[in-house]
Amino acid sequence: MTASVLYDAPGPKAKVRNRVYAVVGSLAILGLLVFAVLRLDAKGQLNPELWDILNYANVRTNILNGVLTTLQVFAVAAVLSLVLGVLLAVGRLSDHKPVRWLATGFIELFRAIPLLITIYALWVLFLSYQSELGFTGEGTQFWALVIGLTVYNGSVQAEVLRAGINAVPKGQREAAYAIGMRKTQVMTTVLMPQAIRAMLPTIISQLVVTLKDTSLGFVITYEELLYTLRLMAQNTTINEQDTYLPLIVAGGVIYVAMCLALSALANWIERRGRRAKTGIAVAEAGQAVTAGDAMGAIDGATTPGPVDKTG
């Protein structure tokens, strides 16, 4: 426990003091909340009519459609990014220099560029060649978003997988070669399964990032959840007020719930993995969320194993 390191079990005096701090702290936090609520109320943002729109059938249908499109993008992008991740990881570990360089260059480039810019560039590109590529209607935005998410998250997943492959004990590979397996066989039957198993929590945590990033479709006017919410908030006015607050709150709850469900899965797998005695430590679930966001973080941060814990 981190907490218990810093202070002793409180005695009578400390207990009283802590209680005072607790009261003062709670009051301060409560004060901030009350201030916000009062201000919103003064602006008429808490009127029941404003929040009543969430009861309308078509508003609910719209939100549901938004959630479905978001999940659709997420599902396609998640599958494609995992496939790309495996390919890039294998490419990066290839014995052939050109393949290695190509994979490394691809990973470094797309990890370094803000995802939004990649998606936007793809969108503009697809728009200008719309007829040649055979896109109609929303297809342009959909594929710009999905491909953008795929190249970015695929690059990150590749680094995660590479860390996992490097963490497989060397003897495994040597033993596989010793019994006459070919390179491909070693990779597919010995290294990859163990790497994926060890890195599963990190991989899923990165999927949480992918899920959150689907909201970037908002910028390229793809009608996912966030764009739907914004559109409704702009177009629905009650008492001459737009309805941002209720819709943002509703959307926030949905996003947080979806992400928490995925992180819970990652944590569960991490806990399960730690019980297994395979000799390869399972990565921590929480780390990828920060590391995945970033360039160059994977190498140090998500290398699985006792490095972090004993330090």
């Binding site: 202070y7 560029i113 810019i117 966001d293």
Partner: protein, 215 residues
């Protein structure tokens, strides 16, 4: 090539805008993040709960949604007519603070137990232990994750461009709206981001080497 030369002022403004936004929100995130980390390890349950709620909520919300909150809800609570730069800084700073908090917290947990015990045994209070013994030592382990958090922040700041801030994404959008080839714009913008992120990682590597001490 011509896009860059013909529109150098725009590119420069965008570059400076990205840097200003990143710096301002990094400062905010650092202050809030360390405060929240302090809350999360404190002996006071309500503060701990607040810190946990803060991290859970902000880490699991898409940044784009936070931008919507900043631009459409915050002006209602504070005062209307806040500059987009301040609002974008708030959104980015609050979002990033949750990652800073977690990095600092895990840094604190790497400080050997005996250090805090020794501090307590000579009669230091929680605040003294944290401020004089634990945090200075935690700094060292926190620096690598902080570096990647700030790099992520730089890239996340692109979203601010979609909310009428002048920065690199905004510039690329303006220029491609004017009909310049997106490929070239993309390349120059990518290069600009690389310059910023490499600088950050370089500075942090320097810091890391400076603060390196054998334990």
């Amino acid at each position: 090539m011509n896009v860059l030369l013909d529109h150098l002022p725009e590119f420069r403004d965008g570059f400076l805008g990205t840097i200003a936004l990143t710096a301002a929100s990094a400062a905010l995130a650092l202050v809030l993040g360390i405060l929240m980390a302090g809350f999360r390890v404190s002996p006071v349950p309500p503060l701990r709960a607040f810190g946990t709620a803060w991290v859970t909520l902000l880490r699991n919300t898409p940044l784009t949604l936070l931008f919507l909150v900043a631009f459409f809800v915050v002006p209602l609570i504070l005062f209307p007519g806040i500059s987009p730069f301040v609002l974008a800084t708030l959104a980015l700073g609050f979002y990033t603070s949750s990652f800073v908090c977690e990095a600092v917290r895990s840094g604190i947990s790497t400080v050997p137990l005996g250090q805090a015990e020794a501090a307590r045994s000579i009669g230091m209070t929680f605040m003294q232990t944290l401020r004089m013994i634990v945090l200075p030592q935690a700094t060292r382990t926190v620096i690598p994750p902080l570096s990647s958090i700030f790099i992520a922040l730089t890239k996340n700041s692109a979203i601010a461009g979609a909310f009428s801030n002048t920065e690199l994404f905004n510039v690329s959008k303006l220029l491609s709206d004017k009909g310049f080839a997106i490929g070239w714009i993309f390349l120059w913008i990518a290069l600009a981001y690389l310059v910023i992120t490499f600088t950050i990682s370089g500075v942090f590597r320097l810091l890391e080497r400076r603060l390196e001490v054998a334990r």
